[in-house]
Symmetry: C2
Subunit: 320 residues, 2 copies
Amino acid sequence: MDSHRLLVFRQIARTGSIAGAARALGWTQPAVSQHLRLLERQAGLPLVLRRPRGVRLTEAGQALLRHADAVAARLQAAADEMSALAQLEGGTVRLATFPSAGATLVPAAMSLLATRHPALDVRLLQAEPPEALELVVAGEADLAVTFAHAGQRPAEPSGLVSVPVGTDPVRLVLPRGHAGARAGDVDLRSLAAERWIAGCARCTAYLEEVCGTAGFAPDVRHGSDDYVVVQSLIAHGLGVGLLPRLALDAFRDPRVAVRDVPGLRPRTIQVTHHREAARTPAVRAAVRAVLDAAADRSAGRRDPGQGRAADSAHSAASSS
Amino acid sequence: MDSHRLLVFRQIARTGSIAGAARALGWTQPAVSQHLRLLERQAGLPLVLRRPRGVRLTEAGQALLRHADAVAARLQAAADEMSALAQLEGGTVRLATFPSAGATLVPAAMSLLATRHPALDVRLLQAEPPEALELVVAGEADLAVTFAHAGQRPAEPSGLVSVPVGTDPVRLVLPRGHAGARAGDVDLRSLAAERWIAGCARCTAYLEEVCGTAGFAPDVRHGSDDYVVVQSLIAHGLGVGLLPRLALDAFRDPRVAVRDVPGLRPRTIQVTHHREAARTPAVRAAVRAVLDAAADRSAGRRDPGQGRAADSAHSAASSS
DNA sequence: GCCCGGACCCAAGAAACGCTTATGGCTCGC
DNA sequence: GCGAGCCATAAGCGTTTCTTGGGTCCGGGC
């Protein structure tokens, strides 16, 4: 039951004649006639009675017309839905993100996205970078917002591509009364004797690496990937730690002091998706929203250095 | 949104890969690949993500799959319904018939049809021959069972074809006590002085014609196309009349006598339909049932002369 | 570490489908 | 009776569509 012929048959029924259907379709009469003949052969039944002024549907023709109308309606619905998805007048996009971005950058991006495409259903999933990438690979998320500390290679599964979003400086967090809090910047080597609070597994590895470069092995006493917990431990004088600025933007314990450590390279933020998903409008729009949100944050902080990184990444993605 | 491509896409979704869809369809892989590419171009969106082990549907692809499934189901339903109609496992056939056949021949035919094709919906419409043909022309009936008196030309609208079903002798009806009822056969000329009861318009014309041939003009006092009324009038001695055997088979007033009139040619019964409707299984089956019912009636009466006419007509129709 | 197999894409050629042109039959209306 | 409208058939050609024969990428096994 060829559906193309079915739609031709629908025109025959509409106009009441083969010649009329041909006119409606912009074809010649024999073209429609042949379609009808093949359709009748497939059906094994006459579908119309040929009469002097045109044709009249047989019972089988009327039955077939009902099906043809249903098929045409469904095809139209499919085209409409595709158009809506292409115009972002619908659809879903799922972002997997790590906590500190999920409390700062990503909500801002989601807000931008909601403003630009009100009908788009944006959903957030929280996951640390490795798990976030897994979600994308497994198809349970469309985008992963991840970070990588300087010197760490982000394990990027094949088939995925990453767009740099910007950098996130890593800062030293001390108890307010700590001696180091009196200076503006702090040299890491001066903290060789401190007790340390570590973060997630990758952050701990980073901490050990930078301390090793500074010439000592950190005395890690506690660990938590929750930046509220880390700051609380520090506030109680149980150690010092490194936290990225996004985490400190998300939550800042008033009992801690924050200082820069010269030479500490920032972690990089990136957004990752399937290589081919770049052609999906929802993914493109979401990537752009993340980049724009990052640029807005940088501009709001009046920090041209950060702004450049985000801006350049943004324009690169926009042109792709 | 080409539906053929949609069905190919459905196979891609089913098998999870383009190559798998190609195997399922008995095609090569590039053929399916090209269909998918054109479908994605039409949709304006990627429908699948190409991954090492095959493809994964995007959100748009999943949406399209739902439509594709619906289209496929509707096409299958259409094919099924066409098949059912072709096998006479459904459908309707409407017979228009004149009263005396509607009380005798046609119910027998309908019963045959119901036995042979229990799912076929057979419907009867009563109409005198000219109106019955109009119903067929107007598409309100599929078949017309009509009669024509000898010498009358059945006005057959163009586009219709008629199949002879058999003949129906016209008999003389007299009051039981009438002098003519004493003889076996009756000469029409002996009834020149009688008062006559006429039937329908065409029957009245026939009466006047055969009386004219016999040399007199009938004194028509009453008229009714209802054979019960006619017999009642005759039974009450209000006149004599001619009635075809089918009418007398349908109803026989015990107070009347029936005699043959030698030389009175029988009326002919025929079944008429659109020329092209001969290819419609329901119409073919109905025509055959009418012919078979007529043959059964002839055989049941042990009247080979009648049986021959019906049989020959039957075999002619069967071979068409 | 390298090769092999599976899956996909692209380009070009061949087969097939589909529309057009040309012609004829039929019915209706002037 | 003849033209106009509708439909059918047959032949021709163009476009679509499938195949063939390349190539790339990724993952698994020796």
